[in-house]
Amino acid sequence: MLKRQLPLVVAFIMGVLFIVQYFIPHQVSQDFLTYVTNWIRIIVSISLLLGIYSLLHFHYTSISRGSAGWGFSIVIFITFLAALCAGFGPSIINWLSPLPQPAPADLPWYRITGVKEASPLMWVFNHGIVPFSATMFSMIGFFIASAAFRAFRARSLEATLLLLAGVIIMLGQTPLGGMISNIIPDGMVWILTIPNMAAKRAILFGIAMGSIAFSLRIIFGIERAYLGGGKD
């Protein structure tokens, strides 16, 4: 009873409070919003521990069962420990160091490793995470090409229209389009600002209506599947 009813009561009270808060610009209302936002941050920070436990447990199970790709799970443990050392290592070394308030360049960590970044974790970020993320992001170009190849096959009227629109947009974005004919860049602008904008706005209207209806279902406890299960 309490397990199901209490979350519904909390959802109702907070839902109504935040609707009212949206229409009140007074400082009291702003302070309330800040207060709740801070609570959300605290909960998110605590939940990260839960996430780390889940991640390590999953990969430990993967290694112990010898699941497909278990070798990658070992990489997870190694990189996790490396990142942990990079994060806490300098603080520990500096704390153990007898030097009283040394200048950053004289800190033992820098003398040992010669790493110029503000911290080794920053080095890991700049030389590891950033290039890896950039690599993944740059792969989108190839994925777009392969997805476009599949989508642009003129198998039906809709696919043919999509192909035509795609060709006009692609040519219109390049100097070549304008060199062939001025109709192409003009056509591109027309497609983007008239039919494309109309479709986007129609979807946005739908999303706005849908989100109000969905919020009402949550506030009034009609929608409760997110609590687990569908019925009391």
């Binding site: 609707i19 400082q27 209806a213």
Partner: protein
């Protein structure tokens, strides 16, 4: 040549004489300067208005607003703008659409260092009009900013939300009496049963993603609701579902939702908590990990429900390459084309929110969908009527949105 030069100089002097002799029109002190608390804020803003003047409002002339905590100063410049701009008509949501507003200047003094830092401090203002050479000042006015308890610029939102809410609640009530409401078919949701059956036949798992938003996002809540329905069918079919999560809180909710679904299906022993796990909350690391999962485990079906960013194509295209049946649902407009291209079915925008109600077939939830459809019908009617009226020269509906 030499004797011509003095003659030319003399002629030029005579020609320019009237121009030099003609004085610039004198600037007049700004009239009817008023300071008042700016509406619809938490405090810390003061609005100033004064009557526009034909003599002052010319190119090259500027208004300079000075503020002080005492009528004796010291004065601090808080704003400066050309005299030809800054009218009450620029802010119809404050002053309406009256033609008279074009004859009044408007300036809003926002939080200013040392002046409006405190929310309720009384601040003194004076206005100067200057053309660079001459400067004329107004009398001193004062006002204290106050926090407001209602944002009048959001009246139209309140009216619309209240009206729409009543419509939905009306249809929910109607659904109590008549549970057989007609709701149009959504092929993407009808196909969920098929995908689970396919996965069961192939003996491969189903991959379910919740998107990149946290539990404070409606799309994630909708996604976890759909997950509950999907997990129940998975439990009935004795198949497997894997849910790699981007957010630890979402992971906890998903674990609870799937566990409940297995309990409801009467198969609590088949629930494996390890199948719902956290990966990372770094966008592209998450995409790489999910791609790895798809390539290694080759799920028979991939369901992408929730809000996505650039990683959508990376994940969905990898899924398509493995031959998995894919269903996506998102309210992220920018990612919809990618999902439509790479997935077998795509739930667009509101269909994601409607999915849980559609799958549950509960009359109360279906009633809210019916109300939502009537709300959309109302908006379509407003757009059509507004377009016709606007083309006929009646700008009532267009002006209504300008005012609010």
């Amino acid at each position: 040549m030499k004797c011509r030069l003095p003659v030319i100089v003399l002629l030029l002097s005579i020609i320019s004489l009237p121009l030099v002799a003609q004085d610039k029109p004198a600037l007049t002190p700004p009239e009817e300067l008023t300071a008042f608390d700016a509406p619809n804020d938490a405090g810390g803003r003061i609005a100033l208005t004064w009557r526009a003047s034909e003599q002052n409002d010319k190119p090259g002339v500027s208004y300079v607003i000075y503020g002080a905590l005492s009528p004796d100063g010291p004065w601090q410049e808080t704003g400066r703008f050309p005299a030809t701009i800054g009218f009450k008509s620029d802010v119809p949501y404050y002053f309406g659409l009256s033609e008279e507003n074009k004859r009044w200047h408007f300036f809003e003094a926002n939080k200013i260092e040392g002046l409006l830092e405190s929310i309720t401090t009384t601040v003194y203002f004076k206005l100067a009009v200057t053309d660079g050479a001459n400067t004329v000042e107004s009398s001193i006015v004062s006002s204290a900013p106050n926090g407001n308890w209602f944002d009048t610029s959001k009246v139209y939102i309140l009216v619309f939300v209240a009206g729409f809410s009543f419509l939905i609640l009306f249809f929910i009530r109607l659904a109590r009496n008549n549970p057989n409401l007609f709701i149009r078919h959504i092929p993407g949701l009808d196909a969920i049963e098929e995908t689970i059956g396919r996965a069961t036949e192939m003996g491969k798992p189903i991959l379910y993603l919740n998107g990149l938003h946290g539990m404070d996002s409606l799309s994630t809540i909708a996604s976890t609701s759909i997950l509950g329905k999907v997990a129940r069918k998975v439990a009935n079919y004795d198949s497997q579902i894997k849910v790699p999560c981007y957010d630890p809180i979402v992971m906890s909710v998903c674990q609870e939702v799937v566990k409940e679904a297995y309990v409801e299906a009467g198969r609590p022993d088949a629930f494996k908590e390890d199948n719902i796990f956290f990966i990372t909350n770094d966008q592209f690391a998450y995409a790489a990990a999910v791609d790895g999962l798809i390539v290694r485990h080759k799920p028979a079906a991939n369901l992408y429900m929730g809000y996505y960013y650039a990683e959508s194509l990376l994940i969905a295209e990898t899924g398509a390459a493995t031959g998995a049946m894919q269903i996506a649902g998102t309210d992220s407009i920018t990612q919809l084309p990618f999902f439509i291209t790479t997935c077998d079915y795509t739930l667009m925008g509101e269909e994601l929110y409607a999915a849980s109600a559609y799958l549950s077939r509960e009359p109360l939830q279906l009633g809210s969908l019916k109300g939502q459809d009537y709300g959309k019908g109302f908006i379509i009617a407003i757009i059509i009527v507004g377009s016709i009226l606007s083309n006929a020269g009646v700008a009532f509906i267009v002006n209504l949105f300008k005012v609010f």
